[in-house]
């Protein structure tokens, strides 16, 4: 009997102790991880950044098949610190394909309603987050990215990542942008967009991947002039 009473008392005292621990841990966790909400210790849901509609270019610059341009889409991530959010850039590439495709991938993300020959990919590599390049000539892929030779039907412009040589085919049948070589577990991520007259308007981006980019950090150095800008 006494034993049970002791147990009960122990349980009762445990409640404020546990509560106190949570109260202490919660701000500590936000100290470490500023995207946690107050009183939230752990989250599984990924941050849902907000971007909104942004005009990234015009169809005029994509006149011929395999024409392309690079662009940047800016998103905001929620942060529970005094500024409230953090901006980050997603570099992207817009490509004119030689034929119309359904711009939807095997992960179920639909980038464009209906058929399109203009496709927009995020250039953040789905492998480990480097920025991959659009290579208009597949020979450059073979020469520069570890020696991969594409099969005959894929000898056209490709996208290739300098870090671990994942190669993506923008025109991959039924899954444009899918990975055709290298360690990436999936194809290039999409932008969601529509075409408004001449303007290409991005309205969203497929989630996933971390370690995007903060706009403020891309400042060029003064000395030496070694800094190279992205080709486009």
């Amino acid at each position: 009997m006494t034993f049970d009473r002791r147990r009960l008392l122990q349980a009762l005292t445990a409640i404020p102790v546990v509560g106190g621990v949570i109260a202490i841990l919660s701000p500590l966790f936000r100290y470490l991880k500023p995207n946690d909400k107050p009183w939230q210790i752990f989250t599984v849901a990924p941050d849902a950044p907000a971007g909104g509609a942004q005009i990234v270019g015009t169809t005029r610059s994509l006149a011929k098949p395999w024409d392309y341009f690079y662009f940047t889409y800016v998103q905001k991530f929620v942060q529970y610190d005094p500024t409230g959010f953090k901006a980050s850039n997603i570099p992207g590439v817009a490509i004119r394909l030689p034929r119309k495709v359904r711009f939807a991938n095997s992960q179920g993300f639909v980038g464009y309603r209906g058929e399109t020959d203009i496709v927009l990919f995020q250039r953040i590599c789905p492998h480990l987050g480097c920025i991959f390049n659009y290579e208009p000539d597949w020979h450059n892929v073979t020469a520069g990215y570890g020696g991969f030779t594409p099969p005959a039907f894929e000898r056209h412009a490709l996208m290739a990542c300098p870090c671990h040589f994942s190669i993506y085919d923008p025109e991959y049948p039924a899954d444009p942008g899918n990975v055709i070589s290298g360690p990436a577990p999936r194809g290039a991520r999409y932008f969601e967009f529509h075409i408004d007259g001449e303007n290409i308007v991005v309205t969203g981006a497929e989630l996933g991947g971390i370690a995007r980019i903060e706009p403020a950090d891309a400042a060029p150095p003064a000395r030496g002039g070694e800094h190279t800008r992205a080709p486009s």
């Binding site: 480990l128 480097c130 040589f165 995007r212």
Partner: protein, 389 residues
């Protein structure tokens, strides 16, 4: 339960007594150069700490100023190039010496009783040194550093894709905590700076406690040797001015892009594996390193008397060199290479296993026969031959 605990305590007490962190108990064997690497580990570590603290006087840990502040240190400040060179090349030397010492202890079987704890600490120190390396070179804020940080901290996000466990959000949390945000930015520099300094600060204090308790000498090298090391590092700093690389450009990954030399082999490995494995494989390697004293249970220390573990060590050395060479040559045909590598590994390990079994059987037979006195098969508990190192 009690018995297990007291056994463990006894084990710990005994291993602690035999702790040897910088070869300070092996001074009698310094005629073999492989037995001064321990002292060199301590020496280069101290060089790195001292030069690092001096660099802190001038370094500015922000994304916009870091690069220029280091340029300023290297080019404008009197002897700044020397301090930075000592820091960088001292760190290279530190990692080289830890690696050499690991291989020595491995092939000479020094991780066996009573050296288990020393070995585990040494192995952990390699991991910590590599973490210091990666956190340290982000501070320059150049292309190489930026992309290394980004790649390394994207690896943990794949922990959320372990099939059975499901998404616990843990991997993402790890990445987020290290980066301090969704990107490699200012928060990441600040955190990396703290980690970079913190590791050495904490462990330097622990090492001091160790020396204080054991009353051993910190540095068992002759003044001449110390002078030679310092002179050599100073000369290298002068002759090969530490590189700046290019200012980090988050919109462009350069082609080709390499990491620091001690990550190259791992980097090549990451190209060959699915990314989840790239996160698990290093953990397995570390696990193997930490647990090998408990897997290799024979008393034998000579490499040829324990063929399997000898071959595993050789294979590790071989892959380290081959992968490094491959990445420097920019070769990685991902559809062709992995089966070859897996095949070679499997065959070699299988052969090593057969060798081990055959060797044990032969030994058992030899032990069973009453050996003729005049010709002993092997001088039984011989003192360790010098070439064992």
């Amino acid at each position: 339960m009690e018995a297990v605990l007291s056994n463990l305590k006894e084990w710990l007490r005994d291993r602690k007594e035999h702790l040897d962190l910088f070869d300070e108990t092996k001074t009698a064997r310094q005629d073999n150069p492989l037995y001064i690497v321990g002292g060199l580990v301590w020496l280069s570590w101290m060089i790195v700490i001292v030069s690092g603290v001096i660099l802190m006087l001038w370094y500015i840990p922000t994304t916009t100023a870091a690069y220029r502040s280091i340029e300023h240190i290297t080019l404008d400040i009197p002897f700044g190039w020397l301090v930075r060179g000592m820091h960088k090349y001292g760190a290279d030397m530190l990692i080289t010496c830890i690696t050499l010492r690991i291989y020595r202890m491995y092939f000479a079987g020094e991780y066996k009783k009573p050296g288990e704890l020393s070995w585990m600490i040494l192995f952990a120190s390699l991991v910590l040194a590599m973490i210091s390396g990666i956190t340290g070179y982000l501070l320059i804020w150049n292309q190489r550093a930026f992309w290394a940080a980004k790649v390394v901290l994207t690896v943990p996000t794949y922990y959320d894709e372990i099939p059975v466990l499901g998404n616990l959000g843990l991997g993402r949390a790890i990445a987020f905590i290290f980066l301090g945000g969704p990107a490699v930015g200012q928060a990441a520099i600040t955190r990396f700076y703290a980690i970079h300094f913190g590791i050495s600060a904490v462990f330097a204090i622990l090492a001091e406690i160790f020396f204080y308790r054991t009353r051993r000498r910190r540095l068992n090298l002759s003044p001449l040797a110390i002078g030679l090391v310092l002179g050599f590092l100073a000369f290298v700093s002068f002759d090969r001015l530490t590189e700046m690389g290019r200012w980090a450009n988050p919109n462009r990954t350069p082609l080709p892009i390499l990491s620091d030399w001690y990550f190259l082999a791992l980097y090549q490995l990451v190209k060959y594996m699915p990314p989840l494995w790239a996160g698990i494989a290093p953990a397995l390697l570390i696990g193997y390193g930490m647990l090998v004293p408990f897997m290799d249970r024979t008393r034998e220390t000579r490499p040829l008397e324990r063929p399997f573990f000898f071959v595993v060590g050789l294979l590790a050395l071989f892959y380290f060199i081959v992968f490094t060479a491959l990445i420097m040559l920019n070769i990685a045909v991902i559809s062709r290479d992995p089966p070859i590598i897996l095949g070679v590994t499997f065959v070699v390990l299988a052969l090593a296993f057969v060798w081990e079994i055959a060797h044990r059987r032969r030994k058992a037979q030899r032990a069973a026969q009453p050996a003729p006195r005049a010709v002993p098969a092997r001088p039984a508990p011989a003192p360790r031959p010098a070439q064992a190192g």
